[in-house]
Structures are given as C-alpha cells and as structure tokens.
Subunit: 397 residues, 4 copies
C-alpha cells in the first residue's frame, strides 16, 4: 500500500473531489463474466484477469475508489435462486479484495469494501439474522484491511441503518447509499428523513446509487443534504447514478422500466451527458462522484475531465481523448473535423435511429416490497408455473 | 498453434458458420486505450493486457477469428495528422499479431491479418505507392504467419482491388470487405460490380464491413452475391456491420451522421437486434458473420446464440447468459421474472429516455471523396484556421 | 327561445352532464376568419355565416352551451396592438350574442356570455378601470339576455375575482375559469386557494380552461375541488382544456411551448384521447365538460359519445359516426375493416410521421407577468426594434 | 357565371398557377357531416350549408377550383356496404354541382366535376359495366355544365384510362389523377408508363392525388412528367396530396398505416410544411397545386401565400394572416412576439407531446388488389364473422 495515501475522510474534509468507479455487474455482463438475473460476482475467482482489467480501466479513467467486486456476495444471495456455485462467499469476497487492492496500488486510489441489501431482509428475516449475514462479508473486509466501507443499494432505510450499525463496529469510515429517488424509500420515508437516520446511525458519507439517472439522483442527494442540514447534522455526500436516462421511472427506478435489463441501450448516456452530470453534482455540493450500472470507463473519464479544473489534473486515459472532441481535428473527413468543438457536442440532440420506438415507456408498477410473498427467498429458480402466474399478472396490470 | 485447426476456406467450403469478432477501435476507445480522431492501434504495444483481454472476451463469446489489431497501422496513417508515436508501424503490427495468436491458441480461432484503406490513396498517390504502403504491413503478417488476410474498410473498389492484388502474393486466403451500402462505392460503382472486380482480383471471400447497420450491410452483401452469381463466379460472403442503427444514413454511412463518433449511444443495438441480424445474414447465405464498430462481446455472443442450432454448440460466455432472458427467472423482483421469455424481448420497442431528441438525423452530405483537397494527407493536426473554414462550410450546408 | 329549456344551474344541480363547445379563435383561424396574434372576434360581424356554421357544428356534436364569440372583445383589447377595426366592441358583442342565440334555439343549448382577462390588468390599471372595461361587455350580455355568464382565461385570480364581482351584479349564474395548471396562478396562488376565492366572490361554477391538455386541466380542477371542499364550500365544476398534448409545459401553459401557435399540429388530440378525457373528467366529479383551443366538432362529439351512457342519448352528429370505429365495417379495404373495434383504437400509439422531430420541447420560460414592462399595453404593433430586442433576449434564455 | 373567366387549359397554357382545394370527405367528417367508412357525400343534399361553407373557405384561401363534392357518389358505391340512403346518386351529384357553382361565382374559381374509382372495377366488372357507372355521374356534370372534369383517386391505371375515355366524350378538358406513389399502380405499372397511357387516352392534365404526403406525391408527379417527356408527349401536371406526413407508407399509401383513419392527428402538416410543399411542387414544374384528405383552408392559404410572388396577389383570407408569423407582433406575451419571423418557423422541429408514441409505424401490407375476394362488392356491412376472420388475419401478418 502506498504509505502516503490520504484516507477518504481526509480527502473529503479537505474539500477534494473524489471520483468513484462504475458498476461492475453490468459492465462485466456485457463482457461475458456476470449472469443477468442472479447478478453474482463469482468472476472475482473464476476470471480475475477480467475483473482486474476493469478496475484498471476505471483507475486510468480517474477513479479514486476501487470498490470491491462483492455486490450480492452475501451467502444468502449466493445460495438464492438456482445459483449453484463452487465457491463460498468468503472466497469470492477475499479474491475481490485482493484484486481491488492490487490495482489501487497502481495509482492514487482507495479500496472500499461494499455490502448491499440482502434477500433475507426482503424475506422478513429479523434484524439479528440480517446483521449476521452482513457481518460475514465484513469479516473479510476487516481481514483484508480495506480503506473504508460502503453500504449501498438499499431500498429500505431500515435495513441500511442496520448495515451502518454493523459497519461502524469495524472503526472504518462508513458511506451509506440508498437506491431511492425523490419519492423516498419503499416504505415511503422521505429522502431527508432517510439521510438523518443514516447519519445518526454513524454514516460519515451519505448518498444515492443506482436505480435512477444522474439528474434524478443528484436531485435526491440534494434532498438528503437539505434533510441533514435542517436537522443540524453534518455529513459528506456521494452519488453513483445509472448511466441510463430514466425520465419515465416510477419510485422503484429502472427495474420497473420494460427495457430492464436487456433493452437499455438507447438510454445510455453519452460522455457529454456525463459532463453535465459532473458539473451539476459538484454544484449541488457533492464531492464523492461516481457511477453505477451502465457506466463504462469513458463515462468516468468524462466526469474526471469535467472536474479537471477543480482537481488540477487530467486522468491518465485522457492521453487518449481530446478535450470536448478535440481529437477529431485529426480525423480524415473534413466534416468530422468540423465537429471538433465544444458547442457542437453540448448542443447535439442525438437521434436513436429507432423510428418505430417511443422516447419514453410506461413503467411496470407492482408496488411489491419487503415482506410480499413474491419477494420471498427461494433456493430454486422460479418454476414454469410461477412464471406463468407472473406473466398473467403482468398482462392484467 | 493447435495443429488440427481447420483453415478459413476449409470451414466455409464445408458450410460451417464462422463468427467474426467486433471492432477494436471503438471498444478500446471506450476503455481508454484508443484516441478517437486518429484511431490508431498503438495500444498493442502500449497496453497489451487491454488488447489481449478484448480478444479473449470475443473468443469466449464465440468468435472464430482473431483479427489483428492493426487498423490504420500503415506508416502513412501513423505519421498522419499530428500523431507523434514512439513506435514504428512494424512494431505495432508485430505486437498485434502476437496478441491475436496468443488468444487464438486458447480456443478454436484463426488469426486474420488486416489491412485497410490508406491516406495515400485518398491523397491520389499512385498504385505503386499505395501498394508499397500495404506491402509493408503485409511483410509482418507473413513473418508472423497469420492464418489468412482481410482487406477491409475500403470506400473505393479501385484501392480494394489493389489491396487484394498485394495480398494474393502471399499465397494466403484473402477476404475483401468494402465499407459501402446499397448505393455502391464512392465513385458510384454498384455493389454487384464491386464484388465481381474483387473476386476476379483473387479474393475468395467478399463482403461488407463498418459504416452501416446490420440491415443495410446484409442488404448490400446480398447485392454483392447477386453480382457474383450473375457473372458466373463463385465466392464466400462475409459481413461485419456496425452495432449502431443507421436508417438515416446517406452513402457514406455513419461518418456523416451528426452523432458520429461521440453521440452514438442511443443507436446501439441490443442483443435482440443481434439475433435478428444473425438470422437474416444466415438466411442471405452469408457464413462469415461478425461485427465492426460498436460491437461489444455480448453482441457477438448473441450472434453465436442465435446460430447455436446450426453450429451445434453455445459459446463459453453463454455460461453467464440465459437463453432469451432465461436468467431473469432468478431475479429478485417478480415483474422482472415475468420478462424471462422470448416473445417479451422480441417484441419490445425500447424507449430512448430522451424525449427532447428525434429518432432520426439529417446526415451531413459533403460529397467529398478521393482527390478532394480537404482529404489531402497532412502530418499536422488541422489548424484553427482550417477548422474555422470547415465550421463555416458546415453551417452553410 | 324554447320556453322549457332548463337553466345551467338546474341542470348541474340535477346531476346532468353539460357539454361545452370548443374554442372559436383557433378553429376560425384555421378556417380563415381570425388573425393569430390579435386573436379578436370581429368575424361575428364580418362573416356571420362562418361563425354560425361553427356554432351549429358544435350543437350537432352535442354541445349544450353556445358560448358567445366574444373572446378578447373588450374595447381595450380591440384597440390594442395595431388592430384597426371598423367595428365597436358593442357591435361585435351584439352580433356574437345574436348568432349564439340563433343556433342555441335550434337545439337544447344555452347561451353563455363570455368575458376574459384584459390587457388593462396586465398593464396594471386599477380595479375600477378593469371592472369598467368588463362592465361594457356585460351591458351587451344583459341587453341580449344571455342565459348565464362565463369569466374565463384568467391567469391571475385577483382579476378573475374582480370579473366575478362585476358579473354577479347581473343576477345571472356565473361560471369562472382560470387558465392555470397544478402550479397555481401567475402570482403563485394555489389552485385550491384560487377556487375558494372565486366561490366566495359568488361564482357558482368554477373550473379551468385553455393553456393545458385535458390530463393537466382535470388534475387542476381536482385541486380546485379539494380546495373548495376543504373550505366547507360548495360549487359546480367545469373544465375546457386544449385539444393539444402538453406534457412538457411549464406554469404558463402552451403559450410557452416553441410550437405555439403555428406548429401545434403534432400535438392534436385524437377522438380516442377525448374519450379518455371525458371519462376522467366525469370520474373526477366534473359535470360541465367542454373544450378550448384546438377542439374541432368531432372532439366534442367524442366527449358526447363517451358520456352517452350517462346522458342516455347520442348527439345528432353521431349519425355520421360509428361507435369506436364501427363505421369502418363498411370500408373497402379488408385490413381497414379489421380496425372496426374498440381495443384497436384504445391501444393505438399513433406515430407522428416526423422522425426528425422530438416528442417533447423545452418551454420558453420568461417568468414575465402582470406589471412587467414587456406586457404593457400599446396601440401599435411591436416595432422592428422591439422585436429585435425580444429576439436577442430569447436567444440568451 | 362570370363571363370573362378563363378556362383551366387557358390558365395552364399561359403558365399561371392554379390552386386546387382540399379534400372534402375528411374535412366534413371532422365537422360531423360525412361518415368514415362509407365516405359518401350525401351531405350535399342533407346539409348544403355545411358544404357551401367549406367551399367558401377554400375560395377565400385562394382556391381556383371548386371541385364538386361527389367523391364515391357513383350508384354502385352508394348502394355498397350497408349505406341506406334516401337520395339517388343523381340527386347528390346535382346538388353538389349547384353548391360548387354558387361559390365559384363568388370569386375567380372554376367548377370541376369529379369521378373516382368504382367498387365495380375492384369486383372485376367488365369495362362496359364500369364505364356505364361512370357515365351516369357524367350525365349530371354535362347537364350542370361544369367547367372541366377530374378523374381522380384511381389505384389502377387501367380503370383510370377507361374513365378518361368516358370523360373525353363530353368535349370538356380532362384531368386524371392516380393515387399512387413512386412504386407505381397496384398492378406494378410505373408512374411514367401510367402517365403515358393517360395522356394517350386524352387527358390534358395528369397528376397524383391522395394516399401520400406532399414530398412523395411531388416525387411521383416528377416521374409522371419524365415519362411523358421521354415519350415525346405533352401535358400539364397537377398534384393534390394528403396533409399528413407519410414517410413510412408502403405502396398503398396511408390506408395501410395503422393510424388510418382515426389516429392521423400527429401527422398533420403545419402551414410551414405547406410552404415547402408549394415551392417544391412549383419547382418541379407542376402548375395545378392543391390538396386532398387532411387539408384545411389554412393549408391552402399557405400554398397561396408561398406562391404569391409568382401569382402577384394574396388570397382574401390572408387579411387574417400575417406573412410568416407576422401577426404575432401583436401578441400579448413578449416571448411569442419574438416568434414573429420566418427563420423561427422554418427551422422549428415541432414536438408531438406524445413521448409514449413512436415517430413511424409499420404499415399493414396485405397485398390485396383488384379481383381479390376480400374486395368484392357487397351491399351489407361486413358481418361479425367476416370481421373476426379479418382480425385473425391481421394478427398473423
């Protein structure tokens, strides 16, 4: 480990911008290493070179945080829904920590151990049971001495608070992110109130990740911030949104969109959308700015390029990228060279090339949350009969 | 090298489906290793691990061809337009061959050495000069003993014929691809006539790559095929289209679209679009089916999955992918599980999430081609004055 | 006059559905009798046959209310902004009353005298001055003995209250409509509070007209209703929305959309949209249901057809219209006959045929309201210099 | 009749622009006087005031031709498909002639008697039978002494030639319009060949009406013209397109679009689209320029305004219309006044306000034409059983 590396709180306290990474499950699904549906991170053991390469690409693009690839790596999730793996959760978590540390050491990045919501909570297991599940992951993070911890992707603030309580026991800095929008958590708790509860539970950094596009997430973090400030508390703020436009989402985010997860391509943000996002997040007072599902390395690079004036430097990968399209000065075709300017790209309204498709969708809206029988944990894949029932129900919505 | 590996012509003669890979420059640009504008492949030397990893992902996804990452690696291009590199063309070409061979040996794939159109041709250099440029790349391919050769991304059949003539001298099988659509080459030669010239020059495989979406490219290959058959000749056919929808292109393809190259996200094909593409290509009689710019490993996997019945097996990466969304049977949310069926994804019309954007664009149409002063080679980046002229001209179009 | 005709309050008290008419200025603009910009109703004198015909078409389509074509027929408006007319306001108002009465007598319709917001108010004239202007129009309505009065198209509840106070002096039933959405009036008074003030001022019917699409207007009327009920008051409710989809409006409605007023065609509601509107309005408890700008007779007919079960009869014009497309049973082409069914039309997502256009716009947002110098009354048309200033300002928004 | 009025051929021979009117069936359907499905013109007898008013609006908007409202007024059509009328074809045709003449006399317009394709032809009746049907309508036109004749809305050139042959016997000038696009007639005869046949049969004016948008129709007339000129013949040219955008049509035009006829609103052309159309038609050498289904009076006015420089005068209705939005100089809101300029409206890409709808549709494509059993004449409305068969078939397309 580089001895001189500043910790996450030191950086944020000093007013530095900390750039996060992008979501690994979606990026590695496209590369062939993660299965959509279970979304589990066994690739950390099975194909470490692929995970290492993705870490390295984010590092080169400007990320200061290597988040361990441990999403859904709790034992209850790994055993859940037909996933037959030859690896234990501990093995996966350990391998993920090693990979993150290896690449973090190649640059100015910290390692963050990540936990997320558990099937156990959705299945109404007790606080004790849920905390025990989270504790198992945490033991690895302590053993591997990660730099700080992130509890993220929680739809219910109640479970997030439990997570923060478990994480605090390690003595490491704790960040907590909900995957909610301006409407609040799945039990209807407002963003401001959620933030207050998390800060009171001990989170030093609070924020939003996943489920919504940058515009919506930044708006939600603003509400977190207002809640915290109104309560006379203090915190740092982070945001790691989707790289998909979701103006048509309902409260449960992109999961509800009919395009999830295999038809999201037309919604992918461009690098120019990322510039706008980074600026908006910064102006809102957020200093830990990263990404989640859909983010590719060039998206993070765009965030780093937008905030280069504030940070004072460009990321390594900008050696392969001209500012605001400047690289096009070297393109063969003259009319492409004419696009080598900021106002061209800032004003472009990119077409979808899909004239038979709409620009917005109607989200599914089942209103199912914690405790509903449809969300109960089962170790087998959904059966044909169960699928038929679901299909019939979706038709009648 | 695996001794029992069948050659490209053996496979095609036997009626096998050969699956190509995807375009490296766009994929590696997103990963931070290629600069948009010059688009040169120095990453083969600078960051071999990144190039190797992409080869491997395509191999796992079903590719039978590892194309050397040598696009625009001719010396005249490398010197062109402000690109100051510390590597010679020969170094890059050699490194690219080694990487392709290394990964090809991990599975059932062949190595194809690739050359493409030269700035020299566009600048009206003579046949002798152009052939000399191409010959330099070829020397490396011969030294490294690639399995076959691909001349691709030619806008003018005249230069493509020259390339085939040079390539034929090696004695290796030769494939030739133009980057044209149904309107023919930039001098107005029809697709059918182009194909006849290429076959007569000695190409055993002819086809189309880049510049247009799958629908358009397959249609153009159909025209190549009709030309060849009408002339009483024989050939194999290949297609390596964009992974972008381009219903609104003019004759010069996606280069002319205002979204090129930094706003193409909403046009990215889904995996389901790829199923339709693979089936359509197969039904047209094309047996070498791959991709170009925009293709990610999961796109190639979708091609391989669509053609699994014909090929008799699934690619390795399908271990991480349920057929037609079947992996969603294991998703937490019931309404997502209800999407685990083919007709759901086949009928989805995915929304862009961009209500302020149109579905089609008006392409630029400068009508500039070989010999035009705007296309003349220069070693410096376009100057501010030149850019201003271009900009003014683009406004008056 | 038909002696047995029930008055507006009798009908509403009895729970009957009263169907309004559509907006005359837009319909007659398309027919060549009203000038967009000044929007004044001199056609009542100049071309009575055109005005009479439009009344008759609405009557045949089911309207129970013939609203006098007196929009913007106040003297201050008629003199305003370059309109040089050979008729006095009194002449226009009288002619409009006679035409409305003539057609009302042909069926079961009432005559409603209409007044709307005045340039005087926007120019900060006093309550006395504004009331005097309104009083002049009213004198004609009293002389011509209209059946009831409608104060409509008010952006500021303050002026609407003044109008109600003037109208109440006649002893006739008074309806009052604001042209606001859920965000409230231009001074930020909430819809609920607006309604309370209007009811307290004496309006027996309150509602919303113009500026927004049916969905938005019905939502706003719901808020009026909740305000009235919460205050322990009683009222009847009316709604007369645009026949244009406006999901992208800001608080000032369709005036702010870049398409206003000459590019609204792609937003026009279909008859099937009108069925949904009528049902939604009815379910919200609104019983006076009509239309404003963009409504053509067939739109009103669709409202009447949707509510035929409640009303017990179809309008006369339904002799020329099959229920839910049933007339297509007699179409020549078999595939058009296959469209003669309700679920076909209810589920259709009609395409715009405009692939270069977006589905939503960014509204202008000048935030200019009562008292702003740009809104000051002037008798001359805006000068070239003034227009240039406006144009420059619009560019910098 | 005004004695000095110049005939249609005199005008065209002199190089004058002749402006047609718009389609009556669609305009009167929206006003409540024509039933979609049968589309027959009995309103000429039932509601003459409505028909007269529409004629007058087109006259005021600049039309030089009052086309008799006799579409589908052949006896075989009137008896067809469940239409039980109390009027004979002769009565309707006579009333329509009187109305057209009455209004033509109010200005500088000619009366054109119109015939169109017959159900008898589609049902494979003989040339003798079809001609007899057409002759019956013609007898009225001769008796009423119309100024010239238009055979229009023919999908098969064979029947159109028969019609021209019948019309020529009257000695009056004959115009002939097919409702085809660039792909030619329903039997695959090319536009150029169609035109040659019509001119040889004696038509002095040939053109295209209905079924396609202006862009497509003008393109098709260009092909007619090239055919005529290549054959060394001479003719005048006319065009009367839809006022709906149809970039997504197949060969049978807007009938095949899923939006036909009750969901076409988003496709309606704006007045600015009409300016472009008029200019394009004029530049193509077309001098008889009018409209068909979807045209409202303001659309014809826009044509007349665009061609005012060539014609030397504005239409009467332009008293109520500022050139290129100039009337907005008198609008209350300053940001609307800023739109009082040509480049604003010429460059506007109007939004649909329908984010859940696509911009293009997939047309139905049944490929059913003359002689197919589904097109056979029957006097009863399609039965429920027949409809079910059609519905099932449409699902399997």
């Amino acid at each position: 480990m580089a001895p001189a590396k500043k910790g996450i709180l030191e950086r944020l306290d000093a007013g530095e911008v900390v750039i996060g990474d992008g979501g690994f499950v979606f990026a590695l699904e496209k590369r062939g290493y993660v299965k959509a549906g279970p979304w589990t991170p066994e690739a950390a053991v099975e194909h470490p070179e692929a995970v290492r390469q993705l870490h390295r690409e984010f590092l080169r693009s400007g990320s200061n945080v290597m988040q361990t690839f441990t999403f859904y790596a709790s034992d209850d999730k790994l055993e859940n829904r037909g996933n037959k793996l030859s690896f234990t959760g501990a093995q996966i978590n350990e391998a993920a920590c090693d990979l993150a540390r290896e690449v973090a050491n190649e640059g100015d990045a910290l390692v963050a151990g990540g936990v997320c919501q558990t099937p156990s909570y959705l299945s109404c297991k007790s606080e004790t049971e849920v905390k025990a599940i989270l504790k198992k992951q945490l033991d690895v993070f302590v053993k591997k001495d990660v730099d700080f911890l992130i509890a993220e992707y929680f739809e219910h603030v109640e479970e997030a608070v439990w997570a923060v309580e478990v994480l605090k026991e390690t003595g490491k800095p704790v960040a907590a992110c909900l995957c909610i929008g301006p409407d609040g958590d799945m039990h209807g708790v407002s963003p401001g109130e959620c933030a207050v509860r998390l800060v009171k539970a001990g989170a030093q950094i609070v924020g939003i990740n996943c489920h919504f596009d940058p515009t919506t997430c930044v708006k939600a973090v603003k509400m977190l911030k207002e809640g915290v400030e109104k309560a006379g508390l203090k915190a740092h703020y982070m945001v790691q949104p989707l790289a998909y436009h979701t103006p048509d989402c309902s409260c449960q985010g992109f999961i509800d969109l009919p395009e999830f997860p295999f038809g999201l391509e037309p919604r992918i943000l461009s690098r120019w959308d990322m510039h706008a996002y980074a600026r908006e997040a910064y102006n809102t007072g957020i200093r830990f700015i990263g990404g989640c599902c859909g983010f590719e390395p060039y998206h993070i690079r765009a965030v780093a390029e937008e905030l280069a004036p504030e940070r004072g430097f460009l990321p390594e990968a900008s050696e392969k990228h001209g500012n605001w399209g400047a690289g096009l000065e070297m393109h063969t075709k003259p009319w492409v060279r004419a696009r080598a300017r900021r106002d061209y790209w800032e004003n472009l309204k990119p077409a979808s090339g899909r004239p038979l498709c709409p620009s917005m969708s109607s989200p599914d809206g089942w209103g199912v949350t914690k405790g509903h029988s449809d969300l109960m944990q089962q170790t087998e894949a959904t059966s044909k009969d169960q699928l038929k029932q679901l299909f019939d129900r979706s038709k009648s919505q």
